[in-house]
């Protein structure tokens, strides 16, 4: 009996300890995986999938290729310096005839029109006026006669640029850039260059909302953390109340309050503080007020939890060691709330970046944020490529910010924040 036990023990020591540990842990790991699997699958389909799809759409460019396959093939060897040869004209004429027959000409027209304003007319007029396939050798002349645009290099470079299957066109557009006739990347014409301004505006509004939330939220969080539990719970309900009200209702409430004949203006007039109603809504002010209101809890909660973790003994210790209240606050309390400030600011800032309904309802034309344009291109003009490109740029900028924040927080832990 004892011998058998000993041999058993010896045998098991021959298996490396690491492998035995892995074997012992395996069942636990499988169980843990099974617990998170439903969420993982859900996220894959509702989050990772759509984002990947959006990123793909921002570079996907197969519409022209499908409608004008022979033209694209003929242009493959074209160097783009002069007009293409007769073969390309003949291929284009053939493609247009085929596309008219199958009714797909509008698809190509729409895509080409994004790149060159007026291309839709060129293509549809050509399709309308091209009665028969031109005699061999006369295609260039025939097309040139129908629409003189076919005699221009830009018309053809536009087609070649749109030949796909992937393109940087939408991403460039989202950054107010375009390719000129020689294929070099240049600034877009001023009447189309609006997105950089919109991005800057989006970041500015988000930054001001974050700053406002921090300024307003910090004292509230401090009060919440300092009060005895009974009263702080009551106050916490007031903080959380906005969560339980629809975003739309809250935003509309601000319209009621801030409009020309709204409660605020009427009160100011009645008190004689102003003579004419102030413009409080449909401008940047209204957007910031309404967004701050909506996003405030997202700042207060992380701040509160970081402050709750700071023992009152620290402030007492600082005082007993000779620090006046202000110095104790700045040197002992504030540095310990930095993780909360960071988490709250990042949360509010990133949520604010994606705000759509609130600026759309209480903002003016010059206060619309990037999501407004994404929505516009998705639902109104069906320019999904540009909508996706704008989304991709926003996503990239947000990820960069989050990485910078991560680096800063890490540095915080290493250096302690106060000195160095």
């Amino acid at each position: 009996m004892t011998d058998a036990l000993l041999t058993g023990a010896n045998a098991s020591t021959e298996v490396p300890l690491k492998r035995r540990l892995r074997r012992a842990e395996r069942a636990r790991q499988v169980k843990a995986l099974a617990l998170v699997l439903p969420l993982l699958v859900f996220l894959l389909f509702t989050f990772a999938g759509p984002i990947a799809g959006m990123l793909w759409r921002s570079v996907d460019d197969r519409e022209v290729r499908q409608v004008l396959p022979q033209t694209i093939a003929a242009l493959a060897s074209w160097d783009g310096r002069d007009l293409p040869d007769e073969k390309a004209y003949a291929a284009l004429a053939g493609d247009i005839m085929a596309a008219r027959a199958s009714g797909t000409i509008a698809i190509a027209a729409k895509r080409l029109n994004y790149a060159l304003n007026g291309f839709r007319t060129i293509l549809t007029s050509t399709a309308r006026n091209l009665k028969t396939v031109p005699e061999p050798g006369t295609a260039r002349e025939t097309l040139g006669k129908i629409n003189p645009a076919w005699r221009e290099r830009a018309t053809w470079t536009t087609i070649k640029d749109a030949s796909g299957p992937m393109t940087g066109f939408y991403l460039l557009s989202a950054l107010d850039l375009t390719r000129n006739v020689d294929g070099a990347i240049v600034a877009a014409p001023p009447d189309q260059a609006i997105y950089r301004d919109v991005f800057v505006r989006t970041f500015l509004i988000s930054l001001s909302v974050t700053a406002l939330c921090l300024i307003l939220g910090f004292p509230v969080a401090y009060l919440l953390a300092a009060l005895p539990p009974g009263r702080s719970n009551l106050l916490m309900i007031f903080v959380l109340l906005p969560f339980w009200t629809s975003l739309l209702v809250r935003t509309c409430a601000w319209i009621v309050l801030l409009q020309g004949k709204g409660v605020v203006n009427e009160s100011l007039l009645w008190l004689g503080i102003v003579d004419t109603p102030l413009r409080l809504i449909y401008n940047r002010f209204g957007v910031c007020v309404a967004m701050t209101h909506v996003l405030l809890p997202f700042m207060i909660l992380p701040l509160y939890s970081s402050m709750k973790a700071i023992s009152p003994a620290y402030m007492r210790a600082a005082a007993s060691l000779g620090a006046p209240p202000v110095a104790a606050f700045l040197r002992i309390y504030l540095p310990q709330t930095l993780p909360g400030i960071g988490a709250g600011s990042l949360l509010v800032f990133i949520l604010a970046l994606g705000y759509y309904i609130t600026p759309a309802l209480v903002g003016g034309a010059a206060d619309q944020m990037i999501s407004y344009f994404i929505a516009l291109y998705t639902t109104e003009t069906a320019n999904w490529g540009l909508a996706s490109a704008l989304g991709a740029v926003l996503l990239l900028a947000t990820i960069l910010l989050a990485l910078v924040y991560g680096k800063l927080v890490q540095g915080q832990q290493v250096t302690g924040g106060m000195k160095n």
């Binding site: 000779g322 302690g416 924040g417």
Partner: protein
């Protein structure tokens, strides 16, 4: 209350008629008068809720006395904590988690705008004092409890405060470390000549470290005295019970004569005791006898002691350096007597050995009248 036996030196801090209430209904501290002399190690000892920590907090400036004055050169009622020049060591150390050990210790110097070179030198000296020079760049979270406590101590001492307060600083440490730290703190007190006010509920800690101990109960200082005086001459049952081990027998005073009284025990029999806190004949009283001041005599042996009581052995408890016999004496069924554990301890002769007692044995106990104190009834 006795005034204490130390030669009076000028008081550094004087509590005068201090009262404190939080709810306006009952007093946490009732009429506290206490002098703390320069260079003294005073311990405030008492069970939780006895008002000792409140007293300390009033001294530190975190609580305001409801009535009375704390005087350190001048009344300090309206002096905020950061201007009191008092170093404080907290129960959970309260080291600033975002600062390194060196920065923690430098904190009191930097808020005082001490010049850089001097501050650095003093921080280095403080680190040397606690033997932690090589851990200066660590953070508090990376240290053990004992190390954190040393840092807290160094931080409270580095700016040479006139007074150092310690609020149960060793409560979170294990027994061995606690005893080691007690000696270290005591040594620091002696070498640096600082004045320490120390709060604890651990009587052995208080006995080990203090010059004087103020025993608190129910918001009142029961007795302030040297450790040995508290042990030998407790003024009432609470102090006798709180300091050291103690056996209690209840009875009624029959006669009082020349500082001694004859007491009839509730469980039968009578003994002579030192009359410490009895009002006179007919009053009920609690007798207090220390376990090490009692002898067990085997049944049948005669003794000339006036205090001789029959007892029945319940069991014996082996404790290494000594043993306890648990006896049934009069009305006390857990009457403890300290004994030698066995034959190998033959150097200290005299008493019966624990291994010669069997549960159920009938024996007699005896003790001298001067070792039996007649105190107020509990």
């Amino acid at each position: 209350m006795e005034a204490g036996m130390v030669t009076p030196a000028p008081a550094l801090v004087r509590f005068s008629g201090i009262q404190k209430t939080y709810d306006g209904e009952h007093l946490v501290v009732k009429n506290l008068d206490l002098d703390i002399r320069k260079g003294e190690f005073v311990t405030l000892l008492g069970p939780s809720g006895s008002g000792k920590t409140t007293t300390l907090m009033m001294l530190a400036g975190f609580e305001v006395p409801t009535h009375g004055e704390i005087i350190a050169d001048r009344p300090i009622k309206n002096v905020p904590p950061h201007k009191r020049d008092i170093g404080m060591v907290f129960q959970n150390y309260a080291l600033f988690p975002h600062l390194t050990i060196a920065e923690n210790i430098a904190f009191p110097l930097s808020v005082r705008n001490t010049n850089k070179a001097e501050a650095q030198e003093r921080v280095r000296a403080a680190l040397r004092m606690i033997k932690m020079e090589n851990l200066a760049q660590r953070r508090p979270g990376q240290l053990s409890g004992g190390q954190q406590q040393r840092v807290a101590l160094a931080r409270a001492l580095v700016f040479n405060p006139q007074l150092v307060l310690m609020d149960e600083p060793l409560g979170a440490l294990d027994k061995r470390l606690r005893e080691q730290m007690q000696l270290e703190i005591k040594q620091l007190h002696e070498t640096m000549g600082i004045t320490v006010v120390y709060v604890t509920h651990d009587q052995s800690e208080a006995l080990t470290m203090s010059d004087r101990i103020a025993v608190f109960n129910d918001g009142i200082v029961q007795q302030i005295d040297r450790p040995d005086a508290l042990y030998e001459h407790p003024v009432n049952s609470f102090v006798a019970h709180f300091i050291g081990e103690n056996n209690v027998l209840s009875g009624t005073v029959e006669t009082v004569e020349k500082g001694y009284c004859r007491v009839a025990l509730a469980g039968g029999g009578a003994v002579t005791a030192r009359a410490v806190n009895v009002s006179g004949a007919g009053a009920s009283t609690s007798l207090s006898v220390r376990p090490e001041r009692i002898a067990i005599i085997p049944n049948g042996t005669s003794s000339d002691q006036p205090n001789r009581l029959p007892a029945k052995v319940q069991n014996t408890i082996y404790l290494g350096d000594h043993a306890l016999a648990v006896l049934d004496v009069a009305d006390n069924r857990e009457f403890m007597v300290k004994l030698q554990p066995g034959a190998h301890d033959s150097l200290r002769a005299g008493n019966v050995r624990a291994d010669s007692l069997r549960p159920g044995d009938d024996v007699f106990i005896t003790f001298r009248p001067e070792d039996c104190l007649a105190l107020d009834p509990v």
